[in-house]
């Protein structure tokens, strides 16, 4: 399948998504910046990009997914949920997923809380357990 490029939200925001699929089949995804407005077209492109990454993970020889949220800033709940839906879909196909939510900013307390919830929430679903790296306590 065609490998998608990085995603840039555009406008005045620095929000972007990068990914890398290495030779060992490890897919790393990095989220940067904030996303606080849906603005139909831009938000739809964001959701479409996550769906493309989901297809990339499940249709190619990916062995492990690393999702980096350390640089994710102020983000709408709906945008956060879209990330976890993507990860859940990957896990449901049997892929191990590791979430890194270890930043020091206040926003990270929310991402960490969502990460923890996501891990607990999918604990009863098929697939290997998720490793949650946590070096700070959520507020």
């Amino acid at each position: 399948m065609e490998i998608p490029g990085p995603f840039h939200l555009g406008g005045n925001t620095i929000f972007k998504i990068e990914h890398d699929l290495d030779e060992q089949g490890e897919l790393s995804i990095w989220f940067y910046g904030g996303l606080v407005v849906r603005h139909g077209d831009r938000f739809d492109r964001y959701l479409t990009h996550l769906e493309t990454l989901e297809r990339l993970a499940t249709n190619s020889s990916v062995t492990h997914v690393h999702c980096h949220l350390e640089h994710l800033a102020e983000v709408l709940s709906r945008a956060q949920h879209a990330i976890y839906r993507m990860l859940h879909a990957m896990r449901a196909r049997g892929l191990p997923v590791t979430i890194y939510a270890t930043g020091e900013q206040p926003e990270q307390s929310e991402h960490l809380r969502m990460s923890r919830l996501f891990v607990d929430g999918v604990g009863k679903q098929p697939g290997p357990p998720v490793k949650l790296m946590e070096i700070r306590r959520a507020s």
Binding site: V36, R38, S77, R78, Y84, P106, S109, L117, F118
Partner: protein, 183 residues
Amino acid sequence: MSTGTDIKYELQLKPLRFHPELAESIIFGLKWTLGAMFQDPFPVRDVVVAVREVVDNIVTHADWDRTPGPSLLVSYRVHRGHPQFCVSSANVVKDIDEAEHALRFIQKHISSKTSDVLWHELTNHLIDSTDIRTNGGIGLLQVASSPRCRLDVRLEGALFRVRVDVDIPELQAAPACPDRTGS
């Protein structure tokens, strides 16, 4: 005569005017202001999240051409020694069926449920269910899922009202810096 209420911060926008940078300016402006007011930004995190989701709700669902125009109020008061944070909004909806659906969704999930239950329902919902593009109410449900937030949502005719009371008993203002000159 004193009412025992000390207003520390109040932001009222009435009516809001549609602008591409409206949400960013409100959310980041509030965030910076609260960051300057308090020593630790973590306790007021729920307030920022509430404003973020309420403003997103307005930007996405308001009918900007009808009166009354959308409005937003954010206030921080100390009443008899107790800090009270409140975020409220009102807007005419552009799709009443969609608003009623979102209202039912929110009421169903927040009625008589603890925050722990809400969190798990939220997770299950986002994983199991419908198209994230069209499902209204997710953001406000996430606000309600915080143990510090009380969410009240109403639809009065075509007017959608949201109120979020945030309980932050440990809140402390940043100390005054008497030596600052302002330059």
